[in-house]
Symmetry: C2
């Protein structure tokens, strides 16, 4: 087990009607805030009005920034920064899924930085003294509600890159599972895949002596496998939505990667290059690419880790580690298929003519991955398998 | 899943030589501190000198309070409060195991309270504006390093009672597994039992829909079962000590009880009454009482929960839930026995003549327990089984 620091400081307010505690939490930071949201689902559901009512009851002044897209754009980030500056706002409240929260983090960091916020993605600058932010989560998927990471797309350059800082962890996040009742089957399935992918990225590493982390990772996978199919059939099953929502936060708040050098993250890097061009739903891209990545990286030395996952999560008990590993990958793909997720890029109408470009972009800072290092040729090969 | 708030705000500094970050962490709060420790093991090991050196290098003024006993006494708490007041100290650093940290929490709360600190235990007062505190952990057991709870013994009345407040969570805790290399077999085994007991207390509840919490609980149990025996044979096995140390913190920081109404805690209440009189090592008392409690409370309606634990942790696959439940309890007792823990009170020379008194004291505020409510007669019966 490697040395680590761990402080999951985000205050989680979990359950029905937790919005009743919103205004008091906000007032710990400011009485002038920006509300950020997406393309209308929180308007249609009535959640936005409920948020405004809660804020108005306590005399909190707010401005709004709407229209933030999935795969959030740098232009939205810049708009948000400008609004906070123009109106002297002291807090940003994200109402939505991971894209809204990610964009909000970049705004919070950008507020205190004189240059272009894209500099954070290019590693030319690190966030300092950001605006405090909070979230009201409406989709169980990214885990952004309990960590300091964000992924932003530069509309001009078709690049999608991550940034992160512990300073950008939401001060609080309201997780009311009923807000996810209206999430459709496709987005629900995609969210489940996203949660599982975060676990995979942190589970498949070359570190040793991290038994407790790996057991907890398997716990979160088992929860996803139990409840992912349930929410497709019963969208208003509270227990299923609640377990997935809490799984989403625990999957990426540091808990399963503490004690390891880092996660692998190459599959996410590859998926980002695909969705930067084609605006693919993140979880769908991961459902396609992850099993191919697994097949590509599997070898005699690391088969034991796939076999362990297969045994503890799927009950696969083959004699040979390599046989068990192959069965595990098959079980994961079958599970994704059972959620109606595609297995190849052509199924979502993504052509193969820009695969080499995506491979090169994924490695623009050098080879990626930690479980296995991948150069541009390797990424291209994985994308060829996935096409 | 019930509504909950969760904020495990303690900053964990985990690993070898993390003491190098001590002074900077302390200086976030004060440059005048009290160091609390026990009966000399941290002197003998050289840890106390190392702590002092780190503090002196950064010009931090300190006073010391030594001699805090296992099952920490109210008299120590009062001494600590007085030292902080007399010397205008602004932070308390506990160096030791759970007893030291518990006593330190009571001091921190007592500092800002004009009455007798025992009032917190009697629920006549709640902590407000306590002194900030931190810990350097030397024993994997109680989880006190990452939560706001404490158990204090009143030497005058032979009572042992809990108190708790989120305000009493350590600001930081340094978890260096090498500090536990010198813990002897008896204390190591007792610590492992303590960790597992915290899981049991929070696992055996009547709540439903808490799949992710129960899976994580099973993860922590599996980690204890894997590594508990290892540290008895190989006291300097870093990975084993590290996994148990992190298990200790995760077992009682709220992670496995969020979404439930509360834990059961009756076994702890019963053990407290025994150890308040006989000064029994906490984990040893739990190893004796827990299997008897399990046998006493097991019935047709709750057998499924024992069977689930048996299946997921011990691989017990009986057809009948009741058979599986009995086998599970047997497996737990056998595991404790494999750690050289006793199974009956007579094995640690505790007589049975005060059992009725202990049963009455355990229920002095009314019946105890949540998985099954127990009155004084029921507690007495469990202690009769355990005698």
């Amino acid at each position: 087990m490697k040395n680590f620091n761990f402080q999951a400081g985000t205050k989680i307010l979990f359950g029905k009607n937790k919005i009743n505690e919103l205004a008091d939490e906000v007032l710990n930071y400011s009485n002038r805030i920006l509300i950020t949201y997406g393309q209308g689902s929180v308007v249609k559901s009535g959640l936005l009005d409920a948020v405004k009512n809660k804020l108005e009851e306590k005399g909190i002044f707010y401005k709004e920034l709407s229209g933030i897209q999935p795969n959030p754009r740098l232009t939205s980030v810049k708009e948000g920064v400008q609004l906070c500056k123009d109106h002297n706002l002291g807090f940003i409240l994200a109402v939505g899924g991971g894209s809204i929260i990610d964009a909000t983090k970049a705004m919070a960091a950008g507020f205190s930085y004189d240059g272009d916020p894209w500099d954070f993605m290019l590693r030319k600058a690190v966030p300092e003294n950001p605006l405090p932010l909070g979230s009201i989560l409406t989709l169980a998927a990214t885990g952004s509600e309990m960590n300091g990471g964000a992924v932003i797309t530069n509309d001009a350059t078709e690049e999608k890159l991550p940034m992160g800082s512990d300073l950008l962890r939401p001060k609080f996040s309201i997780l009311d599972p009923t807000y996810t009742f209206s999430v459709n089957k496709y987005q629900s399935a995609s969210g489940t895949v996203d949660i599982m992918s975060h676990i995979f990225e942190q589970y498949f590493t070359p570190d040793s002596g991290t038994e407790i982390q790996d057991c907890i990772a398997e716990s979160i996978l088992k929860t996803c496998i139990m409840y992912g199919p349930v929410v497709l059939e019963e969208p208003e099953n509270y227990e299923a939505r609640a377990n997935l929502m809490w799984a989403s936060s625990l999957a990426l708040n540091g808990l399963t990667v503490t004690g390891k050098m880092m996660g692998d993250w190459s599959t996410h890097m590859i998926e980002h290059e695909v969705s930067a061009i084609y605006d693919l739903t993140h979880g769908v891209g991961l459902a396609i690419i992850f099993p191919h990545w697994m097949e590509y990286v599997l070898n005699e030395r690391n088969a034991f880790k796939f076999a362990r996952l297969g045994k503890n999560v799927f009950g696969i008990a083959e004699e040979s580690e390599m046989d068990a590993a192959h069965k595990t990958i098959e079980a994961i793909r079958n599970f994704f298929t059972s959620l109606n997720m595609p297995a190849q890029l052509t199924e979502v109408d993504i052509p193969s003519d820009r695969i080499k470009e995506m491979g090169e972009k994924a490695c623009k800072f050098g080879p990626i991955g930690y479980f296995k290092r991948l150069n541009a040729e390797a990424v291209t090969e994985i994308l060829e398998m996935a096409k």
